[in-house]
Symmetry: C2
Subunit: 193 residues, 2 copies
């Protein structure tokens, strides 16, 4: 295999970039493969060589989004050392992101809504993502030595998802601006003693 005969990474990246923007802004079913190819400046056949079906493109986008979320989450933890402070830092970041221009909510919620069949890969990736987030909260809650860390993880996950919903449906400003203080209340509800 030589360089010329190998599908180029940049072409694939361009397709994923375009698909990400369109899927996030307009949803999955509302975006056609023709538009993705056209806006990427890529022939349709070329796109189908990189992604054999639209579902493959959707899943690739979702996995890319999951990676981006993980990076964002790690950064949001900041430099705090106390696990409780880490949680508050995350929700402060959630509140800030939800107020930002580019935030249109959580794409995994949309994925699960548009592909309700639990067998569909786009649904599976979305659900797995939520489970991962819940697990992160559970770990942080356990590290913090808080009472009933699993229940607290559930509460924090709901709060975060509610913030994404608020960002999507209310635009700016939206109820998510109070998400950090809400998280602090949930934490206080699980203090020992």
């Amino acid at each position: 295999m030589n360089a010329a005969s190998r599908p180029s990474r940049s072409t694939r990246d361009r397709l994923l970039e375009t698909a990400s923007r369109l899927f996030y802004e307009r949803g999955f079913q509302a975006v056609g493969v023709d538009e993705i190819a056209a806006q990427s400046g890529v022939a349709k056949m070329t796109m189908y060589r990189h992604f054999p079906s639209k579902d493959d493109l959707v899943v690739a986008y979702l996995k890319r989004s999951e990676n981006a979320f993980c990076d964002w989450f790690e950064r949001a933890l900041g430099t705090e050392r106390d696990p409780r402070d880490k949680i508050v830092a995350v929700f402060t970041a959630v509140g800030a992101l939800a107020q930002s221009e580019q935030c249109l909510g959580c794409t995994f919620q949309v994925s699960a809504a548009e592909y309700p069949d639990p067998v569909h890969p786009a649904n599976r990736v979305a659900v797995r993502h939520k489970r991962e987030v819940r697990k992160r909260f559970a770990t942080l809650a356990a590290e913090a030595g808080l009472r009933d860390p699993d229940a607290l993880a559930d509460e924090l996950l709901m709060l975060m998802d509610g913030a994404w919903v608020a960002a999507r449906m209310f635009g700016r400003p939206n109820p998510a601006r109070h998400v950090a203080s809400a998280a602090e209340s949930l934490l206080r509800g699980h203090r020992r003693g």
Copy 2:
């Protein structure tokens, strides 16, 4: 106008019933008008006499859902007299509903996700619904004499929407089973003093 020449209420109701079930179970774009008509035992033309377009059917379904939600909310308030107890009662009902078989999450979230254009009537109805819910929480919070009732309303709205997301994405059981105690924590966070 006689009875025979007037579009029958039962035909319309049957269409709306079928559309409700299909839209809620599978989403809006994934359900075709042909299937709604067929499963209602109604001719396509007859359906288009009652609902001139699919969007009209979608909006009629959403308004019907909004009415159903309001009824459910009123019942969920229960017989409590203290506004704080009313709020807790609502979230207890949210937790119970989210664990029930028939709950697939919040259809207004799906509507806003599938119709992201804020000009689209399906988006407008969904957003208006969320504003109404937020207003109810704000009223209850104010009646309870709690500190910063508007902020508390935002927090409660996020929590409730997070519970619906959890029901949709996790099935049963799901994190929403802890939504009532989370609501209590949020309330404690707004106690005076």
